[in-house]
Every structure is written in C-alpha cells, then in structure tokens.
C-alpha cells in the first residue's frame, strides 16, 4: 500500500478504509486493553474489597492510634475529641518543658471530660502501651476528676507521685498526635528515652528481633528440608509410568485434603515424650526410659510438623517441571561419556531450576506466615513471629503493635522477593 512520491519519501501507511496505520493500530490495541481490563475488573474489585482494603486499614493502625485524641461512642458512633486542653498546652510549649500549674490545670479539665465520656480507660491504655502502670493513674484521676481543685499540680501529685514523671509527659506529648512511629520502634525492640532519642529496650523485654530472625532461619531450614525430601519424590513421580505415578500422586495429595489440625495433632501423638516414636525406640532398647527424645513442644516439633505440611507445595511444582523433561538429554550426555552424577548435575538439574524456584518461593512465604502449627507444637522456643502478632491481636489487644509487626513482616518479605527477583529472576519460575 505504499506509494513512492515524487521526492522519494514513502507516503504514510494506511488501512483499507483510509485510516493511518499507526492510529488504527493504536486504537485497536487500546480497545483490546480496555476489554481485557473490564474482564479482569470483577476480580480486581473482589481483591481490593476483600483483601487490599481490610489489610490496608489494619496497616493504617500501625502508625495511627487515636486512643489519646478521640473518643467514639460505640452505640451512637458520635466522635468527641479528648485531651484537647493538654494538647493545646503541648502545642504552646516546646518538648522538654517542665509541666507547670497551667499544664496540670489543662489535665484536670481534660479528666472531667474523660469522666463524663467514660473514656479514662481508653486514654490510659494508650499511655500504658509505652509506660506501664499509667492506666490506673488515669482511671483513678478520672474518678476523682470533679473533686480536683487549684493548685492542680499538688492535687495530682497527691493522687500519685508519678504524675511528675518526665517520661509520662513525653509519652503524653507523643500520644497527643494520632500519627506516630513509636509502634514501629516497639516492634524492633526500640524505645525513646527521656530526651526523645532512640535506644534499645531493656534486655529482658527484647523479643521481636529474636523472633524475626528465628522465623527467617526456621523458614529457610524448612525450605531446604522440603527441597531435600521433595526432589527425589518428584523425580520418582516424573519418571515412573503414568499408572504408578498417578497412584503415588494420590498419596502425596492425600495429606493436602486432610484438615491441618488433624495432621498437626497426629504429629503430637507421634512425637510426644510418651508417644509412638519414643515408645518404639525405648521398646527396641535404643533409648533409656529417662532419656526420651524431646521432639514436641520445641523447635524440632515445629520444624518436623511444618516440613511435613509444606512438602506438597514443593513436590507439585517440581513434578510439573520434571515431567516434560525429555529423558533423551540425559541419555545423550551418558553416551558422550558423562558419569551419572555429571549428567545429573549439568543436564538434568539446570532444567529443573524453575520448578525449584517456584517451590522454594511457595514454601518459604508460607512458612514465614505460619501460625497454627507453631502454636500447637512449638512450645516456648518454637514460636514464630506470627504467634506474637496473634497474641497482640487477641490477648493484649494492642492492635497498633500487631499491625506494626505485621507491616514489618510484609515489608521484609517484599524485600526478599525483590532480592530473589534480582538474583534469580521472577520469570525463571515455572509452576508447570
């Protein structure tokens, strides 16, 4: 459809109905993209509504806590600002100013409001997160709020000497703004000291960094174990004739269809100190009755049970990558003089790497977030970070700290994913 014009430059390409080709192509492509988008839209909406929005709202709590600034009446939904006088004093005076009579007067006025709204527990709890013991100071002061009179500083100090504590005023100043990073600090075993700089928390309260590293290390260990156990299984399944491999595949998938709790409790029966494994070892005379192996309620229990539960996630991607591998490659290598180890190492193994990548990624990400198995069989030293997140969600009800821990976990995984992509490449992943 080209026309050479008089001065040699080619004329613009056009389609059959005269439209310029470029424009027609662009409009056809954008039409296809729009159609694809609308086809995906229901799924996207579903994921946003049920996944992104609730998780986003939860993560929002990790840096936003208005326990000290806003009270919401649960029945009517009416929101009332609280501690407004104190906030005004904080705004008017820089950090580190000693609390004056004016500050205490503002505090007294706020206590009256707290008492009316029945909110001293809420405000006190927010301060209690960072300074233990403050909660009862707030509830006591609010109970006596109507009897407080000038001079307010003495009135408060009569109630409790700790009202003069500079740490308390620093925490209240921090809490007066709903947006804060202090929960992230707590999630990393850090805290602010009196002049606002960051320091490590008391040694016997440090737990989160230990748990993050333990979670990471155990997940890597479990990934390696599932790989070592799953690779031979997958190879066997891939090389057997279809009739036998289908039967064995059912055996691999059967645990998948059994409830997770049933699998975990069966491990408890097997591994506990009066359980099947120990009883048989003692019965065979390999072990003394007093020295039974401790395989339950510790890290070993967590690792064993989780390896078993996550094994299918490694076997299936490996199997689906191994099945299409043509056996003639290995045979060709052998015929060229390679030993069977060399043939395996240089011909067979590299072809399975995408499956290893997929399986390892799946197992690792699942292991990092696992909660039920460590909770049931982990005892004290087999706990993972998700157990502490659950503790803060359910028992201590410190949702902001739980959200901060969860956000750090999510961030850590995203960083590892990015590293994996740089080192191995996410396109080098095949699930089948």
């Amino acid at each position: 459809m080209t026309d050479a014009t008089a001065n040699g430059a080619p004329a613009k390409l056009t389609t059959a109905d005269g439209k310029p080709l470029k424009a027609a192509l662009a409009s056809a492509q954008s039409h296809a993209r729009r159609r694809a988008f609308f086809l995906v839209l229901p799924l996207l909406a579903f994921i946003v509504i049920t996944f992104v929005a609730p998780i986003g709202q939860m993560l929002h709590r990790s840096f936003h806590n208005d326990g000290f600034t806003m009270h919401e009446d649960i029945g009517s939904g009416v929101r009332t600002p609280i501690m407004t006088n104190l906030k005004a004093w904080f705004d008017a005076n820089p950090a580190g100013t000693e609390p004056t009579e004016e500050a205490f007067a503002a505090l007294a006025a706020d206590m009256v409001v707290l008492r009316e709204l029945k909110a001293p527990g809420q405000a006190g709890t927010r301060i209690n997160y960072e300074l233990s013991g403050s909660r009862s100071m707030f509830t006591k002061a609010a109970r006596k709020a109507n009897d407080l009179e000038a001079p307010f500083k003495d009135a408060f100090l009569d109630l409790d000497k700790d009202w003069n504590n500079p740490d308390l005023w620093r925490v209240m100043r921090d809490a007066s703004s709903a947006y804060t990073f202090n929960f992230y600090l707590a999630a990393l075993d850090l805290t602010r000291n009196a002049d606002g700089s960051i320091e490590q928390v008391n040694e016997n309260r440090q737990v989160y960094v230990t748990l993050f590293s333990r979670t990471l290390l155990l997940s890597i260990l479990i990934t390696v174990l599932t790989f070592m156990l799953g690779y031979p299984i997958a190879h066997l399944l891939a090389t057997l004739p279809l009739r036998y491999s289908n039967l064995l595949m059912i055996l691999v998938l059967l645990p998948f269809w059994t409830s997770l709790l049933v699998r975990t409790t069966s491990w408890m029966v097997l591994l506990q100190s009066q359980g099947v494994v120990n009883d048989s070892l003692v019965g065979m005379g390999l072990l003394d009755d007093e020295n039974r192996l401790q395989m339950m309620y510790n890290q070993m229990g967590t690792v064993i049970a989780m390896t078993h539960i996550l094994l299918p996630f490694m076997v299936l991607p490996l199997y689906s990558v191994m099945r299409p591998i043509n056996p003639s490659y290995v045979r060709a290598a052998r015929s060229l003089g390679a030993t069977s180890w060399t043939a395996f190492r240089r011909i067979y193994f590299p072809q399975t790497v995408p499956g290893i990548g997929a399986g390892a990624l799946l197992v690792f990400i699942l292991a990092v977030g696992y909660y039920i198995t460590p909770a049931l069989v982990g005892g004290a030293d087999g706990q993972l970070i998700s157990n502490l997140i659950a503790f803060h969600m359910q028992k201590s009800l410190n949702w902001s700290l739980a959200a901060a821990l969860a956000a750090l976990l999510l961030g850590g995984i995203l960083i590892l994913y990015w590293l994996y992509d740089r080192l191995i490449g996410i396109d080098n992943l095949k699930l089948g």
Binding site: D73, I74, G75, K118, A119, P120, G121, Q122, G124, T125, N128, Y129, S132, G133, R135, S136, T139, N204, R205, Q206, V207, T210, L211, R214, Q272, S273, Q274, Y297, G379, A380, D381, Q383, L388, F391, M393, Q394, K395, S396, L397, N398
Partner: protein, 357 residues
C-alpha cells in the same frame, strides 16, 4: 390461585413462628465447665422462658469481645470472663452496664447487692463462680506426696515435667509463693522490678521442664497422658477428670490463686434484654448452687453455700472440693484484679520475651 394463597399463608405463619422463638448466644470456656453451665443454667433457662441458648466455646471468651464490638458485628450475647478482663473491658466501654437492681434476692429476702460476695458485683459484670488456679499431679507417676507450692518447683525431689498456663497471670504469683513470699505480700513484691526478676528467676529453675498449656482441658489430658507429672490447672477441670473419668489425679491446694468468673454483655449485643434476663436467672441462689453439683467451683452468692450438696453422681460431697473450703485456704491468694488490669501488658511482654529466649 388457591394453591398460591395456601403457600403464602404457610410461609407467613412460618415466619411468624420463627420470629417468636428467641435465642441468645452464651460464650464460655469449653469442656467440663461449659457442661456444668449447660446443665445448671442453659437448660433450666430454656425450660422456664422458652428462649433457646446457643453455647459457644473459646480458650478465653474475653478475646473476641473487643474485635466484635469495634467491628459492630457482635455475635455473642453473654460471655463468661475473668475478673481483670471484665474490669478492663468495662473501662474501655466495650460492655453494657448491668443494673444490679434486676438481680433476684436470696430466698431469705437479702437483696442481691448484699448476698453476693464482696467484689462479685461490678458495673458491667455479675460474678457467677469463685474458681482457682491450683496444681495437680498424677499419683501414678509421682513417688511421694507433693504438699506445698514449693514442691511444684522442686524437680530434684519430684522429677518430671511441669505444666503451666501460658500466661504471666497466676504463674508469677505461684513462683513468688514457692520462693517463700507470704501470700499477703505477693502483689507488693510483684510491683517492684526486683520482685519480677525474682519470679522469673524461680521460673528459670524449671524452664526446660515446662510444657505450656492454653486451653482449660489440656492439663488433665497432659497429666493423664503422662506428658507432665504435675500441672497447674483450673481446679474444677481436675475434679471432673478425677471424679467423672476416674483419673488418678490429686489437687494440691497450697498456693491456690482464687479468682471470679463473671457474666458480661458486650456492647451492641443483639439480644440485650434476653441476655440480661439470662444473667438474672443464672445468678440466682438455686442456680449457683446447682452448678456446684456439676463442677467444683464455689458459688458467688453467700446464700448458695448452704444449698451445695453432692456431685451429680449422687455420691461425692462437693464441699471439701470447693476453693473456698476452709481446709483449702491455708495458703491461698486472691487474684488482685487492679494489679493485673494495670500490669498485664507489661508483664506479659516480659513473659513473652522470657519464653522466646
């Protein structure tokens, strides 16, 4: 046309009937304790008022309350919670206030406010039982007889594993009492840093031998399995395992820690009036005496004490198995709820850190 009208009429009547049958959901701790409540409270309540009672269980009914109330989707109408949880949740505005005037008087006319034991009536909660954390041992697996709380921490004299509740509450107090702190001074000592260190040091002495439990039904199971030789437990669960299931378990009352369990109504509960009715019914004198015939928990009303008789098997006298029996109170501690409302977060953090090390 006739068929259509007939169908419509049946459907509408069905709806009308369904609307009349009310029901409430009561959440409790599961196992033998829930069973005692079903027999003593739920069944008579349904028989008297025709309101159906759904019983649901949790390791700790206080935990779902905050999530449900804040989400605005409250599915429980009544929950049975520990004392410090009841006070804490009430302070945070998550519970409906209870009008004590609606509680029935004792048979001899004493008003409810005087009939309940001191501390049993709170702004948002009404106590039903007095229970205690004790320790029990399997007499088949232990040579000798442990008699004091210090014996629990003595793995030299009584070798074997120990079961402990996975929570700082009650665990730290027992550690201090075993270390020689008299019951009256435990909370003062625990209020200081040195005291907390002392409790953790005592726990360190048996740390490698501890199996941690969270559900009330676990200690009798662990003891029966032989997984542990001694374990702390809720006293009623051990009683049920020993008497109803004939397990060779013995309770040691020395160092027991008494606590209340209370009924609360979460704010925004869907059947609030029926819930209040349930609470008034279940905490009357006869009902509290009845529950004592199913499990060895003391009634929270003074007038119920006289009505406590035998266990449901008709043979065992309940009185000696009550936490409040005189013989069991020689070295007992009453849980200080104010201390725990304040210090729960900090001590549990320290406890978690200690567990992880």
């Amino acid at each position: 046309m006739k068929l259509k009208t007939a169908l419509m009429a049946t459907a509408l009547t069905g709806v009308a009937f369904a609307a009349q049958a009310q029901e409430i959901t009561v959440m409790s701790w599961g196992g033998a304790y829930t069973k005692s409540q079903v027999e003593a409270y739920h069944k008579p309540f349904t028989a008297t008022t025709n309101i159906k009672v759904n019983s649901v269980d949790a390791d700790n009914p206080a935990t779902p309350i905050k999530a449900q109330v804040e989400a605005g989707n409250v599915s429980i109408d009544v929950a049975d919670v520990e004392f410090s949880d009841a006070v804490r949740l009430c302070d945070e505005g998550l519970l409906e206030p209870v009008d004590h005037a609606m509680l029935p008087a004792a048979p001899d006319g004493t008003p409810a406010t005087e009939d309940f034991i001191e501390g049993a009536l709170q702004d948002c909660a009404v106590a039903n039982i007095v229970w205690s954390t004790v320790y029990a041992y399997n007499s088949k697996n232990v040579s000798g007889t442990p008699t004091t709380i210090a014996d629990f921490f003595d793995t030299a004299k009584f070798p074997g594993k120990r079961g402990l509740r996975k929570s700082a509450k009650a665990t730290l107090e027992m550690a201090l009492m075993a270390d020689g702190v008299p019951a009256g001074e435990v909370y003062d000592v625990l209020d200081t840093d040195a005291g907390v260190d002392r409790a953790f040091a005592k726990l360190d002495s048996i740390k490698s031998d501890i199996v941690w439990w969270e559900a009330g039904a676990q200690p009798p199971q662990l003891l029966a399995d032989g997984e542990v030789v001694m374990s702390t437990a809720y006293n009623g669960r051990i009683f049920n395992a020993a008497v109803a299931e004939n397990q060779p378990l013995e309770v040691v009352w020395d160092g027991q820690i008494l606590d209340f369990d209370l009924f609360v109504v979460p704010k925004g509960a869907q059947n609030k009036d029926a819930a209040m009715q349930f609470i008034a019914f279940s905490t009357d004198t006869q009902r509290l005496a009845d529950q004592a015939s199913w499990i060895s928990y003391g009634p929270a009303r003074k007038s119920s004490g006289a009505l406590v008789g035998k266990y449901s098997d008709g043979k065992t006298e309940m009185a000696p198995h009550m936490p409040t029996a005189a013989a069991n109170l020689t070295n007992a501690l009453v849980n200080n709820f104010e201390f725990w409302v304040d210090k729960d977060a900090e001590l549990n953090e320290r406890f978690n850190a200690w567990l992880a090390q």
